[in-house]
Amino acid sequence: MSSAAALIAGHATFAAGMLSAIEQITGRSDVFVGLSNRALSAAGVEAAMREALDSSGATVVFTDLPAGSCTMAARRVQRDRPELTVVVGANLATLLDFVFGIDGDTDAAARHAAEKGKAALQVLGTPRAGGRPDGP
């Protein structure tokens, strides 16, 4: 596996889809390597993640969901690799920002990218009356 700055890890084809979108927008999907949890046990996800990090040299992991098995695996890896940065709940805006921020400190780039990702999440349109009880 070639060198990369970060690993994108998630359910099913989440990583492949993100890589495809990053390539289309920036032509820089080489910044990342992808990992799917498909057909893997929790231990299998962790082993695959360690292997991907070792072979790519990546120091950042982006995962898709807080409760996801990739996030759990990343936290386990982080236990004995405290230098690893884990960004949970990554979206396309997060990853695109990271692409353009990796010239310096990748940890700082990941933290900046996470803020960009949060800011990118918006609801457009006027709230309708009688929405969900827990809604606005």
Binding site: A39, L40, A42, P66, A67, M72
Partner: protein, 163 residues
């Protein structure tokens, strides 16, 4: 009955459990039964961080789960009981004596296991253990997510559900 599902899933708490089942069933608590996790503060903290704030997680050994099961069943909230392997669920079924249905949610590849479904791999010993549960009258079905059709143990072992 407050415990909606008794699930075997080697990923324990993960997206399918918290979101896939948690949201449609409006689950408010998870009982995670695992002797190792029950004795590790670090493991418990890891799993606790994986669930939303409105959901409680209770960590139990097989012995303590069997003892406290009536309380979980009587809980007015909806919950899900989770083990990471068939052996743990089998021991719990034996000790509790009140579990009537078991869900096979995710048992993944390992040496010595044969693939039965996309998400289900079983060794000969595990198959025997599941058949023994069924022989006791426990309804054993495989269903990874609520939208999927539950497959009977016979369908699983006959390979009819392979996809």
């Amino acid at each position: 009955m407050a415990l909606e599902l008794y699930r075997i899933d080697d990923r324990l708490i993960h997206g399918q459990v918290v979101v896939g089942w948690g949201q449609p069933l409006d689950l408010r608590f998870i009982v995670l039964v695992d002797d190792d996790v029950a004795s590790s503060e670090w493991e418990q903290e890891l799993y606790r961080m994986g669930v939303p704030p409105e959901m409680d997680v209770y960590f139990e050994s097989v012995a303590s789960a069997a003892e406290r099961l009536p309380g979980y069943v009587d809980d007015e909230r909806k919950g899900l009981l989770l083990t990471g392997d068939i052996d743990t669920m089998t021991r719990l079924v034996e000790r509790a004596g009140t579990i009537r249905a078991v869900n096979l949610g995710g048992i993944h590849h390992r040496n010595g296991r044969l693939q039965r479904l996309r998400y289900l791999f079983l060794s000969n010993e595990e198959e025997s253990a599941l058949r023994a549960l069924a022989d006791q009258g426990i309804v054993v079905t495989a269903q990874d997510v609520p939208a999927a059709r539950p497959l009977s143990l016979n369908e699983v072992l006959d390979g009819e559900g392979r996809r």
